[in-house]
Amino acid sequence: MLLGTVTTVKVLICATILYVIISIIFGLMRISKNKIIQGVATVYIEFFRGTSLLVQLFWFYYVLPFFGISLEAFTAGVVAIGMNFGAYGAEIVRGGILAVPKGQWEGAFALNFTPAKRMRKIIIPQIFPIILPPAANLTVELLKATALVALVTVVDLTFEAKQINAITWLSAQCFGTALLIYYIISRFFLVPFLRWLEVIAARKVGKDIV
């Protein structure tokens, strides 16, 4: 079970990194003025949000090999989850950028900041407090989604629980333990960490304003 937990945490970390990168890229593409770039991002987001994660996962794992791209179960799991959550994250990033008051953009423009400086000094610090709470929710969702990789034979917590259940038939104990472990990871590790990030982000902006 603990070995499985390690795999679960590994999937969680890898997929989180991937989804953060994807959401930033596609979030920015989504607000691009270039119609083609925007179109690509929209299609990507609608596609990954419109279909079920499990379907995507199986598609990556069972169908891609037919095209000569063989992914390991672990990689397939991470890529599928990362791309799926990246689509949701992109919408959050887009919302965050749009939620920065127009006056801030205009103020930076009036002060003759370069676009790079405007983004870096004014806009981005204000985005974080806006997008972190929904992103935190999404990350907890991602933790739960990692359970799905068990279905493409990644030996994670869920897979172990299922395996032990098949051997011992002590269903209440083994699934109960698995549930508890997931709960502990999220309640005592993941959520406090994300709260901490939120507090830091909020404090930064508070200081900037003062």
Binding site: R49, T51, S52, V55, Y62, V63, S171, L179, V191
Partner: protein, 225 residues
């Protein structure tokens, strides 16, 4: 075995897949109906005056929200029989989905109720309205449009989580695809068709929800003015 897309095979399995789609839609609908009610129960638990009920309710909601639906499914499906309660996979799936998304919906309801400005409550108090009247005529009509997007999103969310039911043997769309794929040893067409069916159903649904949201907002605006 090759990577070519075979139209004849795709067309051959299509009727079977469409039949299974009906099952998926039914599962999503039933699960949602249960979730809406369970959500209300959790909301009541949250808003009652008894502190202990509040705390227990909070913990249950947190627990269900932060553990994977998949394991909850396994838990209900494998553990209940040990206590002498044997339910069909279908019933198990509906109960679990209802419980799981009920917790989410209770959060949506809560957010919607809190989204109604406090001054509205105070005004009703000042006008000496009863609590029931306040809810019915003042608070709920304002909370409803706030709740619409969240409720709609979870309807689509439930729909997209129904493939998990296949793991405990509910014969829905994804289950059919796996069965067909295993039988012919061709997974490309079945899984791709599943993806397309999901897209066809959920993208318009999401758009419809957005439309509904804006129309409800508009009608509320008129009422307020």
């Amino acid at each position: 075995m090759n990577a070519e897309w075979r139209w004849d095979f795709a067309i051959e399995i299509l009727p079977q897949m469409l039949m299974a789609t009906l099952n998926t839609i039914m599962a999503a609908g039933t699960g949602y109906a249960i979730a809406v009610i369970v959500g209300l129960l959790f909301l009541l638990g949250q808003r009652t005056r008894f502190k202990i009920v509040n705390i227990i309710n909070r913990e249950i909601v947190e627990f269900i929200r932060s553990t994977p639906l998949l394991i909850q499914l396994f838990f209900v499906y494998f553990v209940l029989p040990q206590f002498g309660i044997t339910l069909s996979a279908w019933v198990c799936g509906m109960i679990t989905i209802g419980l799981h998304f009920g917790t989410y919906l209770s959060e949506v309801y809560r957010g919607a109720l809190e989204g109604v400005p406090k001054t509205q409550w105070e005004a009703c108090r000042a006008l000496n309205f009863t609590t029931f009247y306040t809810y019915r005529r003042i608070v709920l009509p304002q909370a409803f449009p706030i709740a619409i997007p969240g409720m709609g999103n979870y309807l689509v969310g439930i729909f997209k989580d129904t493939p998990l039911l296949s793991t405990i043997g509910v014969a829905e769309l994804f289950h059919a695809a796996t069965a067909v794929g295993g039988y012919h040893y061709r997974y490309l067409e079945p899984y791709t068709i599943v993806g397309i069916i999901f897209l066809i159903l959920s993208v318009p649904a999401a758009m419809g929800i957005r439309k509904l949201e804006s129309s409800v907002n508009k009608s509320q605006g008129k009422v307020k003015n």
